[in-house]
Amino acid sequence: MTTRIFGSGIRRREDPRLITGGATYTDDVQLPGMLYAAILRSPHAHAKINSVDTSAAAAAPGVVAIYTGADTDGVLNPIPCAWVPPGADLVAVAHPSIAKDVARYQGDAVAVVVAEDRYQAEDALELINVDYSPLPAVTNPEAAMQPGAPQLHEDAPNNQAFHWVAEGGDTDVAFEAADVIVKDKIIQQRLIPNAMEPRSAVASWTRATGELTLWSTSQNPHICRFLASLVTGIGEHKIRVIATEVGGGFGSKIPMYADEMIASFCSMQLGLPVKWTATRSEGFLSTIHGRDHVEYVEMAATREGKITAIRTKIYAGMGAYLSTAGPGVPTILHGLIYSGAYDIGATKADVYGVFSNTTPVDAYRGAGRPEATFLVERLVDLLAVELGIDPVELRRKNLIPKFEDGHDVASGITYDSGDYEPLLNMVLGQADYQALRQEQTRLQESGHYMGIGVTCYAEICGLGPSQVAGAVGFGGGLWESAIVRFHPTGKVNVYSGISPHGQGEETTFAQIISDELGVDVDDVSIVHGDTSNTPMGWGTYGSRTTAVGAAAMVLAARKIKEKARLLAAHLLEAAEADVEYVDGHFTVKGSPDQTKSIQELATMANVAWNLPEGMEPGLEASAFYDPPNFVYPFGTHLAVVDVDADNGHIVIRRYIAGDDCGPQINPMIVEGQVHGGVVQGIGQALWEGAVYNDDGQLITGSMVDYALPRAHLLPNMEVLSTETPSPHNPLGVKGIGETGAIASTVTVYNAVIDALRPLGITSLEMPLTPEKVWRAIRQQQGS
């Protein structure tokens, strides 16, 4: 009988090194003769740099070298933006690693000190004398486009980085014909990702060979190598990027940063290894931020509650420069998914990408899809109130009916598979929705404010077909490849270009390959994270690692099985057609004694003493997988909150997450991904938000000021699922890394507004802090 380890919640093989302190993260790397770099950052959001005097710093103890923009100018090429949506008149402004003439955000690099230890480097920073002429700054993306706003880049008038419009169906006609239109202004506040491991780089240049080795906290070491090559001018064949253990990313470790290139520059100048590690405060300023939209959104519907169109105008903050994937986030990953889980005839996204004197903005967990889901679900709730229909029934009425192989939505994309209503029913059943509504009414009568938020979503992930990547201006492919190799003793290594950093794919991929090849899971090891021993791959983001990366492995494993079958037939002296594969063994039909295990065959293939004529030695294969479509997970989330009207405190009483990511390889890990995503989304709804003052100073510049979710503020989540396979993927799998964050922000937001509606409050800006809620309640009571 075939036993499968796919679907089993086995514990992770990553963990023993992580729970004993045995893992090596980038800052743990120590090299002989290594020097330490510290980066001087502009304290001004916008300033002309008149001069940089490094003389005192250069004389400080332990200082080896100091470099400024004058040194890197012309040596390092600008940091490229790698996602340029077509037809959007995108202005690709030059992004120098070290600012030379103008600093454009607080945190822009102005100089670097290299010293013998990190204390000396930090000390010397304080001795650098920069003469700045501060300039007026602008931080809000809508304000940045108004006449008279401070201008960041000469070649980007009105601070417009791009203007992108995507319309499917005719929204004008739909809005003219609408019985009902609901509108809102939504502030998708700027978030600061805060992976627990600060970014770090160790650059080691070998002058004699012209080779650069770069340890980097990257989610995508092959893209890092590609972009490092463009910036340094070193050929890719002479760059090795190593993402050892990476302590979380959530999108913030996708981009190419100036800091890694500065460390590389220093190492190349000095011929010695150089380490740079961000302090947390430095990370707040220099690591990408997320979201930052000012949105004007509207929904058209019939009186019966049939949604007919969604239309938006969005100012999307890009920060001072375009980060690696920044422009793709509010456009491709946002404006094409407005249908969500619903059958909507027309959608239109009208998006301005805007420069401001702020940290660059890029992908943060969910990247564009949380923002889209938020506006859709917010509008559905507004429509429900307007029409006097229960918000769940309004959603049910508009859900896309079950489909197994393709459903076209208005924006032009084709969802792969979906069956939305069963999950909605499952979540409502778990919550006992009707009873909750009754309780809500009862509590309200006694002056207690409880609210319920329900979200139905469908999202796009598993990025993606390379042809589409090219068509939407992504500066690379989105396929994955894998090498699966049997060693002579029958053990297996799988080499992949993806780069998990907490998601546990060393375990889940071993489960897949174990099943596929019929070998024990402990006989399989997954190798990733080092460009020198893994095949090219585009990395871990956009919930693509399993949907694309694992698919490549499966295809390689299947090639191996075919070769092993031919070898088995040869060794068993049987006709090829008579040899069948069952559970790791190749057996002659009708002769159970005539059998060879795949691991025996691996030995025979590797020693190559007796191979069929023309067969090459060895038992390994590589495969490339370029997905024919994205994958489209979906689900229903429900939150129940209690709001204390006396002090504005919100308690999440229950949170139910129902998600469908297709077949689950390891349910324990799937559930962990849901937990983490949901809590990050709750963070946005209730606590998190970057605040700049009028001068462009980041007020929330540390963990003291920026409120991250903490254990004592959170509920235990209830996690449910259904399994609807993707029709186009060899494993049927979709993605689960981002769904939690995509659904939970608006679920909690809608629940809070639902609680406050009896008090006359229908809209609030996130985060919904107790103070903000309390003030809103007071204002209502005073009016």
Binding site: R11, R12, E14, D15, P16, R17, L18, I19, T20, G21, G22, A23, T24, Y25, D27, D28, Q30, R118, Y119, N194, A195, M196, E197, P198, E245, V246, G247, G248, F250, T279, R280, S281, H501, G502, Q503, G504, M668, I669, E671, G672, H675, G676, G677, V678, V679, Q680, S702, M703, V704, L708, P709, R710, A711, H712, L714, N716, M717, G740
Partner: protein, 154 residues
């Protein structure tokens, strides 16, 4: 300044700069990199070690303040490769993802369970106020701690 202290049962004597942070002493001078630095404001708890039986944030403590103390870092938690019940519980219950906060979480848990062998979920969550995890949403950490408590009680 010359300091002498015991780290994971081993006596260490070093001449250190008075301003050297304990976490840098542990990581850079002793090479025990399992203790992490996650913030610079004493908020995240990635750097938590046990000093004379009490948890301290080693990023907010000078090496010279540790003079004469006994310190346990994550490397000293398991005994010759045999995992502590807390480590085992984190592994069994998926109490970690990227692992960066885990050393601090485990050391914090050990003290928490020493003070309260039978904590409620709320007491556990309250005890984790000083430790930030960005991956797990804390739920499986709470579950891990409950599981460890149960094993340690039996």
């Amino acid at each position: 300044m010359n300091i002498q202290l015991t780290v994971n049962g081993k006596v260490q004597e070093k001449d250190v700069d008075p301003r050297l942070l304990l976490v840098h002493f542990i990581r850079d001078d002793l090479g025990l990199t399992g203790t992490k630095i996650g913030c610079d404001t004493s908020q995240c708890g990635a750097c938590v070690v046990s000093m004379d039986g009490k948890t301290v944030k080693s990023c907010t403590c000078l090496a010279v303040q540790a003079n004469g103390s006994e310190i346990t870092t994550i490397e000293g938690v398991s005994n010759n490769g045999e995992l502590d019940p807390v480590q085992e519980a984190f592994w069994n219950n998926h109490g970690l993802q990227c692992g960066y906060c885990t050393s601090g979480m485990i050391i914090t848990t050990m003290e928490l369970l020493k003070k309260n062998a039978n904590p409620s979920d709320d007491e556990i969550r309250d005890g984790l106020k000083g430790n930030i995890c960005r991956c797990t949403g804390y739920q499986n950490i709470v579950k891990s701690i409950q599981a460890a408590a149960e094993v340690m009680r039996s």
